[in-house]
């Protein structure tokens, strides 16, 4: 699971108010390289919950990866940002799309319900008594 998905995902269990952001406990993660696409990143940035993304990178042990404030549009469209390793664009790309969480747990902030991640697939199935109807 990439951090992009983690940023969108909320707990659905009964008793969760917003169920967001899910706390991340990582056992194993990996990096898979992908082609950066500035257009996609510019489009998705307004939808990203920035504090949750920063918290997720900190849970991974990468506090240096992202700054406190989200990058501006100008930073993302800067000339040569896609080639420069340390640019805001490349950092955002790495955080959202290249880091894959392989093993770990997602914890609902409201109910403390744990959702295990195995082989990169979070198990979000709820028991009968946890379903919100």
């Amino acid at each position: 699971m990439r951090l992009l998905t983690h940023n969108m995902l909320a707990s659905n269990a009964r008793g969760a108010v917003t169920g967001y952001p899910l706390k991340l406990q990582v056992v194993k993660w990996s990096t898979k390289e992908a082609e950066p696409n500035p257009d996609f990143l510019r489009g998705i940035l307004p939808k990203i919950d920035w504090p949750a993304l920063v918290a997720a990178t900190q849970a991974l042990g990468l506090p240096e990866l992202l700054p406190e404030a989200p990058p501006t549009d100008a930073e993302l469209s800067a000339e040569g940002a896609a080639e420069d390793e340390g640019s805001a664009l490349r950092r955002l790309h790495r955080a959202l799309l290249e880091i894959h969480i392989e093993e770990g747990t997602l914890v609902c902030p409201d109910t403390e319900r744990c959702f295990p991640i195995s082989r990169g697939v979070p198990n979000m199935l709820l028991h009968e008594d946890e379903v919100r109807n």
């Binding site: 992009l4 257009d39 990169g120 697939v121 979000m124 709820l126 379903v131 919100r132």
Partner: protein, 295 residues
């Protein structure tokens, strides 16, 4: 063969051997990718070359996701069957996979998704596989959460096989109650096998661009041979000319042998019943004996 939905719950029906078919059967792969392409066409994403974040609900082994990846989009796949997701991992699906039940709601932040597709999955919600399942509540939870997570103006295209008119009405009503605008587009309505129903939904108030596209072959044109194919049951009578809407076709009559079923069959049946704990008369020399012919 009856439809998969009437055989077992999805997480049990799509076991390892069933999931394996989705990597080996070129026929299934071809049909799936063709339906996905049509669903993407109906999704009518803006043609600006910018990749979108899409949902694939009931992604299974990631066949439909492959088509999304080919178009450059990022996707999040939902499925309830672990075996199918294992196959998807094996195939190297590019999207993120989630093991989840769509009837429990999708569990996503509001307004973040640019579009959703679903291939042959929604009809599973009409089944009550557990005593705690209520199809109406599950449909409501699914469409409600789908509506919330989609961005304003985003579309969802859900291809489904309804068992009968009532079921398809139930699905459409649940979608409308959730606030969606749209309706059902039927491709090849005159063909019993190639007929496909797509529920095309638009998030937000109805506008000019939320008018329904036309289904293929609605003016009576018949599809070519290569379009003539079905998802689940391929061994149907080829000579059939009249389409039967109900997917539960009448069963073929079992052929009776002239001399009945025979002693071995009877003993086997009795043994079966005994194993199930039924009270069965003991086997004697009279069991399943030949009767006199009276005529």
């Amino acid at each position: 063969m009856p439809r998969p939905e009437v055989q077992a719950p999805p997480e049990i029906f799509y076991n390892e051997s069933e999931a394996r078919k989705y990597t080996t059967s070129s026929r299934i792969i071809e049909i799936q990718s063709r339906i996905t392409e049509r669903a993407l066409e109906l999704l009518a994403l803006p043609n600006d070359g910018i990749p979108k974040l899409l949902l694939d609900i009931g992604c299974g082994s990631g066949l439909s996701g492959e088509t999304l990846t080919e178009q450059g989009h990022h996707w999040i796949g939902y499925d309830i069957s672990k075996s199918m997701l294992d196959v998807a991992l094996e195939r190297g699906a590019e999207g993120d996979l989630l093991l989840a039940d769509m009837g429990q709601g999708l569990g996503l932040r509001p307004g973040v998704i640019d579009g959703a597709i679903s291939i042959s999955a929604v009809q599973w919600l009409c089944n009550a596989d557990k005593s705690c399942h209520n199809p109406r509540l599950r449909l409501k939870a699914f469409f409600g959460s789908l509506y919330r997570c989609l961005a304003r103006g985003a579309r969802a295209v859900l291809q489904f096989y309804a068992d009968n008119v009532k079921q398809s009405e139930m699905i459409v009503t649940a979608a409308m109650r959730a606030g969606f605008a749209g309706g059902v587009v039927v491709d090849w309505p005159h063909s019993s096998k190639a007929k496909k129903s797509y529920l095309v939904l638009t998030c937000g108030p109805p506008s000019l661009n939320s008018s329904l596209p036309k289904g293929k072959g609605q003016d009576g044109a018949m599809c070519s041979d290569e379009d003539e194919s079905d998802d689940g049951s391929g061994d149907e009578d080829e000579a059939q000319t009249v389409g039967i809407y109900e997917r539960n076709r009448p069963k073929k009559r079992q052929k009776m042998k002239k001399n009945g079923k025979g002693k071995a069959w009877l003993l086997n049946k009795k043994e079966q019943m005994r194993r199930r704990g039924r009270e069965v008369p003991a086997d004697t020399k009279y069991t399943g004996r030949k009767r006199k012919s009276y005529f």
